[in-house]
Amino acid sequence: MSFEKSKFHHPRLAVNDLGLTYRDYEGSLSTLCAGCGHDAISSAVVQACYELSIEPHKVAKMSGIGCSSKSPTYFLNKAHGFNSVHGRMPSVATGANLANRDLTYIGMSGDGDSASIGMGQFAHVVRRQLDMLYMVANNGVYGLTKGQLAATSDKGAKNKAGEQSLFTDIDLCVMALQLGATFVARSFSGDKKQLVPLIKAALSHQGFAFIDIVSPCVTFNNQPTSTRSYDYVHEHVTTAAIADYVPVKKEITSEVADGESEDICLHDGSLMRIHKLDKKYQTTDAMQAIVDIERHKKQGEILTGLFYLEPTCSHFHEMNNTNDTPLNKLNQDALCPGSRVLTGINNSFR
């Protein structure tokens, strides 16, 4: 079930550049388990979109199947959403994006959805450089089917039922890096300070942006032995770099002051500010990022933050040379060659 939230607005709620309040970005009341990491991701999306002053109805929310894929109901009520089929969100998002390049596409998937049944589609949407934000809520289990181990579970980790993961885990960030994604990050649903700026940066990125978000499943995978539990993540997380988005006209005050900062200029003159928690960390070297991720994993640590960013990349429509006018807005005159042309075509078959 989903429930309508009260529409009452406090008269003095803060508004963003569009005159919209935070509440204008909310979704329906969540029906996920209390404490589910996915809900924290939803609220991070709400905050990021509010702060970026994105028009909510100009967003399309795409998802597959799973608890995580239900989440788009719980943010941006004013946006259309599509809860498609298990593991196939990437293709549906591709079609939607080809039809209308003017919307912002937010994809929400799970580790089962992306790293197992939808692995092929995940790999290929990265290759296609679709202009979208692709998030995986990674809990190491299949929440919706009651806790089976997911392929992202660390080898040796156990789920609540005591089942042990026997095989090598799949790291979707490493895959995305290898396949040429131009924005790759990992975060933790419990760390809003890190997650919100990453989502904002990813939404501002023109191209394929991937964020793997460790998101504990309180019902099936939050026991101390799980490497996807709140406790484990809190204790073993290390951050490389996080990014923030600085619009052309505004200077932001950063919450994360430690480490070094570096500004990267985007297409439109706005800035991506990278805060490096590890001074030596480079966000421009995909191969090094893979090495760093694997090195931390060997030490039992989860490396989070922005791993890689290619600020000026081309996305599908640029490579395809698609008309700037969205294809779904073209009228019959632009689409139909008409009877005169047909006469010529007929003559070629005589």
Binding site: A60, H80, G95, Q121, Q332, L335, P337, L342
Partner: protein, 617 residues
């Protein structure tokens, strides 16, 4: 001078015979054979051409069968041919047997025929084609390619084809590559002269100019489907290669390249993605359809299986999209290069749960064009997938067909889509509210209105306002509405084509798609046997009520189709309130286009069985 043996019983025919070409895959024979078929067309005589080819790129035997018939009997005739052009040493034994008694074998006499294969009831037209090429050309590629052109030249002499017609075809074929015209005409001359000098030409089978083509054109169904999709306004395509559907996409792409470039910017007014598999291909079409673009994909049997889950989602979530199914025989390691109509049930009921899909059954390239364009209107009107059920014979072979027509005054029917203004006028929008009582609800597109009309698209777990629910009443109500929508569809999709005598005949024939090609000939053969039949061609599913009436009004109704299990017969029995015992089946599943003989033999033997069992009883 002549070195052919003359028989009193030579086949004699004007504008009514079959020429069969036996070639090797990948030797460039296709374009020469096509030129031959087109020369008959340009002589004003009805002609059909069928490729019979293996699932292989190079080295295997292929056949090309050209039927010339001024009565417009253009289905595969079956049986032996009056003239066989035997260019493949590998299949020569079989090719010699495929000549009709009194017929002719054109072969490359550079090497002697194996004595034991020789029949003495046919005539041998030996031309030393390889030797001529050896002498004339030095480049090995030319030696191979011009072999084909030489036999076409010889055929012109044998069959009385006007040489000027061939010359005009060469000129058309090499427009833009003029350098190639002279050598091709020269090769044609080599064959033409050789035949004229060594044999008495023309033979007793020959063509005579007629004016029977009128406005018809000769083209394959896949080209027509691809072009129809351009005219129908398709902009987004996801696809994965599979024979025999691939050329639908290739043609769509090449027409778009010419006709869909924005003149101001030079940018594309379409987007085509070769997806990672068929699941993604249809997912792309569904995503685009959801977002208000006209989108399609094309596939064949195995691809249909993979698309099945998504077809279910699109049915329940009510997403418009078009799927072209160019049907073929069997699985991937079946006979993927042979034709069939064997996905009828798999498509009509595609997917899990209670699903029914809209099917269109084009019979000709002209109808492929018309139905492809129409399918986008239907999908938008009905907010559901529309499947075009073509087949390999229709899709990949050239057919004589009515020219393509387009009415410039006709506007796309985009169905019930609400604008921002319309949304403003509505108190509360409900995506699945049946306000018009036809089962079709109003949809909204993402990005339309800042506060109204957004909803979360799901399968069935929602109420009329698209709010999540798993209540049984809501589920049932929705399913009943979808049923109503399907009933509405039966009056919107193309109606059947019915031909009835007055008074009505006792026996009726029902058929669809390419099975209709053999009907005119079968009817005339049945007439010769004293049997008059009425006919009904099904053009779409859901079935129009007139089909039920047709069955009611006839004593026996034969359902003619190209599969083993009589799938259309099952579908009719399942969907209509009729006496299933009235339905008799003519089903052919050998992978080759249906012949009139198969139909006639089947009808006559079943009727006489019926008669004798009645008498016995």
């Amino acid at each position: 001078m002549t070195n052919s043996i003359n028989y009193n019983s030579s086949c004699t025919a004007i504008n009514d015979f079959v020429v069969r070409f036996a070639n090797t895959n990948g030797t460039g024979s296709a374009s020469a054979n096509n030129m031959f078929a087109k020369s008959i067309l340009r002589m004003g005589i009805p002609v059909s051409a069928k490729n019979i080819f293996p699932s292989n790129i190079q080295g295997m035997p292929t056949w090309y069968e050209v039927r010339i018939n001024e009565n417009n009997f253009l289905a595969r005739r079956g049986g032996q041919s009056e003239l066989v052009v035997a260019m493949n040493a590998q299949s020569i034994k079989e090719d010699i047997t495929s000549v009709k008694s009194g017929g002719f074998l054109l072969y490359d006499s550079s090497k002697q025929l194996i004595q034991e294969y020789i029949r003495n009831d046919i005539e041998y037209l030996g031309i030393p084609i390889s030797a001529i090429c050896q002498k004339e050309y030095t480049d090995p590629r030319q030696r191979q390619l011009f072999k084909n052109v030489i036999y076409v030249g010889a055929l012109a002499a044998f069959l009385n084809i006007e040489f000027e017609v061939l010359k005009s075809l060469v000129a058309d074929q090499f427009k833009g590559k003029e350098k190639l015209i002279t050598p091709n005409i020269y090769a044609l001359e080599l064959g033409y002269q050789y035949a004229n000098h060594h044999f008495s030409c023309p033979l007793s089978i020959k063509v005579e100019r007629r004016d029977l083509i009128k406005n018809r054109i000769m083209v394959d169904g896949n080209t027509a489907t691809g072009l129809g999709a351009v005219y129908g306004g398709a902009t987004v395509v996801g696809w994965y290669p599979i024979t025999p559907s691939t050329s639908v996409i290739e043609k769509f792409a090449s027409y778009c390249d010419r006709l869909r470039i924005d003149p101001a910017s030079g940018k594309k007014n379409y987007a085509l993605v070769q997806a990672e598999d068929e699941l993604a291909a249809i997912g792309i079409a569904i995503g685009a359809g959801w977002n208000g673009a006209r989108a399609f994909t094309a596939t064949s049997g195995p691809g249909i299986s993979l698309m099945s889950e998504f077809l279910g989602l699109a049915y329940f979530a009510e997403i418009p999209m078009v799927l072209v199914n160019v049907q073929r025989a069997g699985p991937s390691t079946g006979m993927p290069t042979r034709t069939q109509q064997s996905d009828v049930l798999a498509c009509a009921y595609a997917s899990h749960g209670d699903t029914k899909q809209i099917l269109l059954f084009p019979e000709s390239p002209c109808e492929c064009f018309e139905f492809a364009a129409l399918a986008f209107d239907l999908a938008d009107q009905l907010q559901t997938p529309v499947i075009i059920m073509s087949d390999l014979d229709l899709g990949m072979n050239d057919h004589l067909t009515d020219e393509f027509m387009w009415d410039d005054k006709k506007e796309y029917n985009l169905g019930k889509v609400l604008s921002a203004k319309q949304l403003d006028d509505i108190e509360r929008y409900g995506r699945y509210l049946d306000s018009d009582n036809d089962g079709i609800c109003y949809r909204t597109l993402p990005g339309t209105h800042p506060d109204k009309g957004s909803f979360f698209t799901r399968g069935t777990s929602r109420d009329e306002y698209a709010v999540y629910t798993e209540k049984s009443e809501d589920y049932v109500k929705n399913m009943k509405r979808l049923e109503k929508k399907f009933a509405t569809a039966s009056n919107i999709v193309p109606k059947p084509e019915i031909n009835q005598t007055k008074p009505l005949a006792k026996t009726g024939l029902i058929f669809f798609g390419t099975s209709s090609h053999a009907i005119n000939e079968a009817q005339s053969q049945l007439q010769e046997q004293g049997l008059t039949v009425d006919t009904l061609r099904v053009k779409a599913f859901p079935f129009h009520q007139s089909i039920e009436q047709f069955i009611e009004k006839h004593n026996n109704v034969f359902i003619i189709e190209q599969n083993r299990d009589a799938q259309m017969k099952s579908l009719l029995s399942n969907e209509l309130s009729i006496d299933p015992n009235k339905l008799l089946s003519i089903a052919n599943c050998d992978g080759l286009p249906l012949t009139s003989h198969y139909i006639v033999d089947g009808i006559l033997s079943q009727l006489s069985e019926q008669l004798s069992s009645k008498q016995a009883g």
